[in-house]
Amino acid sequence: MAKVRVATMWFSGCAGCHMSLLDIDEALIDLAARIDLRNSPLTDLKVFPEDGVDVTLIEGAVANEEHLRLVRTAREKSKIIIALGDCAVTGNVPALRNGLDADRMIESIYGSPTTSNGALPYDVVPQLLGRVSPLAELIPVDYFLHGCPPPAGLIAKTIFALLDGKTPELVGPDLKFG
């Protein structure tokens, strides 16, 4: 049987959701046997495969222009998109800056005398968007995994249901934020 092609992405989030994914412990061995992990912060493949994937898990909120480009690519080239964790689902901590002026924030955080010529490195660092968005404000999302981070068991249950061709059932305590 052809392996299921999976990608994971990391936008504005703390990497905790990816840590939680690794926390599924020995189930990782089973998972590794059944999926073909394409581009992901966990692999060295940094480009989204041209021919697409079956499932993409996205951690983090959409906070800059690079995320905006990638989230659209991911939707275009994935059969299933999973919002992995509260930042991807609600905006969570990264969205706390919404309502504040992004330029002034950059100025006060990075525009200190430690930057050599006072210029901000926008040639290498993507521009912040004026407003941080949860994924579903920008693209259709198929499944939402709540939690900061989502419990490892919830991630495992969802991924293995999909691998078995079933619809993951996310109910009751699965839907707890935080």
Partner: protein
């Protein structure tokens, strides 16, 4: 006593007039989710979470009285969908960031989201800017987490009799204030009894310095007080 007959979800129930749909449902073991309702306080129908269907109309169970022959549906697909949308609106209009809330795991709004099956908030988040008031020596209010249920207003007014809390402004600008919109620490009417802390369903009004594990609340306290007072 006069008795009337109603139907809830097709089940015939005999009850008496003057009771709300919510009271009759609860007395018969039928669950209707609520948020602004709290036993011991006057019901005001602020949150709309308790909606039920009566002949194609959606009514709040906590403020609608039963009437003879009333047919009430508490759990149809349409009711569930509306209820979910109402909970989504509560999330969208505040900043309910559960991950760093002292009430995470002990919050009635968070529990409601699980109960109504809220997968995501389909309404654009408003991300409002609010003021946190930590001027009171023992308590603080984080208005980002306020759902405007008015339990604090009612507990303080009806049970403590201090009337420190009230609503100010209109529409999307509504917020709870202390006295005539002074900082809570300067509110002369506050006795420091802590009832507003106990009844607040979210992490909006909390005890200062309490950790997540210590932040348990006891909203039932107002029902106990109201009950004891009714015996004079």
């Amino acid at each position: 006593m006069e008795s009337i007959a109603v139907k809830i979800n097709g089940r015939g129930i005999t009850t008496c007039p003057g009771r709300t749909i919510l009271e009759v449902a609860e007395a018969n073991g039928i669950r209707i989710p609520t948020l602004c309702h709290l036993k011991g306080l006057t019901d005001v129908g602020a949150c709309r979470v308790c909606i039920v269907e009566v002949r194609g109309q959606f009514l709040t169970a906590c403020t609608t009285g039963v009437a003879d022959g009333m047919e009430i549906l508490t759990d149809t697909e349409v009711v569930r969908a509306h209820r979910r949308t109402i909970v989504e609106m509560l999330f969208a209009e505040g900043n309910h960031v559960c991950s760093f809330c002292v009430s995470n795991g002990g919050c009635e709004l968070q529990d409601l989201a699980c109960e109504v099956g809220m997968q995501s908030v389909r309404i654009p988040y408003a991300y409002p800017r609010h003021r946190v008031d930590a001027s009171h020596p023992r308590f603080l209010i984080d208005r980002d987490r306020c759902v405007l249920c008015g339990r604090c207003v009612r507990a303080c007014g009806e049970i403590e009799g201090a009337r420190t809390w009230d609503f100010a402004e209109r529409g999307s600008g509504v917020r709870v204030i202390t006295d005539l919109d002074v900082n809570w620490g300067q509110a002369e009417t506050c006795t420091g009894c802590g009832k507003c802390v106990e009844v607040c369903p979210t992490g909006a009004i909390v005890r200062k310095g309490a950790s997540n594990a210590e932040m348990g609340k006891n909203p039932e306290v107002v029902a106990q007080l109201a009950e004891r007072r009714s015996h004079g």
